[in-house]
Structure formats: structure tokens, C-alpha cells
Amino acid sequence: MHVAIESPHTGITVVRPQGMLDMNSVPAFRQTLEAEVHRAQRGLIVALSEVAFMDSSGVAVLIEGLKWSRGRTLPYLLTQLTPAVQMVIELARLERFFTIVASVEDGVAQITQAS
């Protein structure tokens, strides 16, 4: 799996996994996500528009990311959920656990307004 890292605004990191987020790819993605959570200064956005499939290990690492972020009081947002990702989050009943925004731009605005 390839993970693109973007910085659309000072201190804000966008992590964009591409492909399948499952038991095969999650170990590498987990390392990247953990490193970026600790590197981000103002907030982290996980953009999921290029995730074609996600299983329970994928949603588990998203939960871990949120918990690492809470440890740093770092805003942590999800955006651009594909139908496959949306389905898994709904099956896990985590829609209200995560902060989900419509776009990266909305996420950046939310983070900058809060900080």
C-alpha cells in the first residue's frame, strides 16, 4: 500500500492511504499513521478517498490513530469516505466516535478555527 502525506496548511498533516486497508497492509499503515500523529503540530486528517476496501483491522488502526491523537490533544479528522469505508464504519457503529468532515478543506478550516 502507498500512503501519501500532504501538508495543506502549516502544522496540519493529511494522511492519504491508497488501495486496500486490510490485514495485509495495516502493519505498514499503522507505522506511518503513528509517526504522522506524533509529527503533526496542529491536526491530522485521514483522507480515505482512495481506499477501495477496508476490513476490521483497517477500522481498528483508525481507532488507534484517534487514541494516539487524544493522547496529544491533537485534532484527528476523517474525510472523503468511500462507500466501502462508510459501510465498515457504520457496521461498527463508529459514525459518532470519529469526527468526519466532507473535505480536506473543511477539515483544515475546522482545525484552524479551533486552534
Partner: protein, 155 residues
């Protein structure tokens, strides 16, 4: 595969149709399930959402086998058999590893927001039945069924 390639599947005489797929117990091969079940279920006129859900349930089952029955041993095999009837699709997943403790296979309570334990919840939420047959001398047969919203009729 083009949509038109699978549009006629539902009109076949599906009473005894049976498909098989054998996978090495390596996580990198689980991606095969997306193409196999995605195309098959679309051809059987399951909705796109149902197709994604059933694929997820099978994926979770195979991932559990690799992680638990085979404990990460990538030199083993997972045999899938799909039985297609006018009323339902049955997926039998055979492994040859250690047998599960059936009393320990429980979906976790969803109010506990933590990693792990979701796969079993997904399988039970998506499929109409989920049963484990531990009677074989070696391994387990996991049997899951998904009923069609509308029965499929032969021409």
C-alpha cells in the same frame, strides 16, 4: 469484467451450481476475494451494497483463519466453496488448522471502542447464518449463508 458478462447469471439453472476457490494462507492473497465475490454477486443480482458486505464477511472469515487457525503460518490453504441456489448463497470456508474455541467466539460489545473483535461482529451482522462445524478430524468448516432479497427464477 464487464457488467454484461455477469448479467445473465441469475437466469441460469442455479439449483446446484457450485464454485470453488483455494487460497494460500497469505494475507496478500485476500485481495482475490474482492474480484471473485464482487463479480459473482453482481451477476446474481445482489445489490452493490450487499455484494460489498458479503465480500467483507468472507474476507473477515479468511483473515481470522490466517490469524487464529493457522496462527500466521503462510504455508497452509483455505478452501472456499460457494453454493448457489435460487433462494440463497452459501459460502463454506474450510481450514485445516487448530479448531476454534466456540465459546470464545463472541462479537465484542460495540460500546467498547477499541481495536479488535469487530470481524466476528461484521460476519454475524451481514450474513443470515454463521455456523462452525468442528467435526472434521482436522480443521473447521465455517458455513455462512446470505438469502436473496428476491428469489431467483430459472428461465
Amino acid at each position: 469484467m464487464l457488467a454484461s458478462d455477469t448479467q445473465g447469471l441469475c437466469d441460469m439453472d442455479t439449483a446446484t451450481d457450485r464454485l470453488t476457490l483455494s487460497l494460500p494462507s497469505q494475507p496478500c492473497y485476500l485481495c482475490v476475494l474482492q474480484g471473485f465475490f464482487g463479480s459473482l454477486l453482481a451477476g446474481l443480482r445482489f445489490s452493490s451494497a450487499e455484494g460489498m458486505q458479503v465480500t467483507l464477511a468472507v474476507h473477515e472469515a479468511c483473515a481470522n483463519i490466517i490469524a487464529h487457525s493457522y496462527q500466521g503460518d503462510t504455508a497452509q490453504r483455505i478452501d472456499l466453496t460457494v453454493l448457489i441456489t435460487p433462494e440463497e448463497v452459501v459460502v463454506e470456508i474450510r481450514d485445516y488448522g487448530s479448531k476454534p474455541d466456540l465459546t470464545a467466539i463472541q462479537p465484542r460489545a460495540l460500546h467498547e471502542v477499541r481495536p479488535g473483535g469487530l470481524g466476528t461482529h461484521f460476519m454475524r451482522s451481514i450474513m443470515d447464518t454463521v455456523t462452525y462445524d468442528v467435526s472434521p478430524d482436522t480443521g473447521t468448516v465455517l458455513r455462512m449463508t446470505k438469502r436473496r432479497s428476491e428469489p431467483c427464477t430459472s428461465p
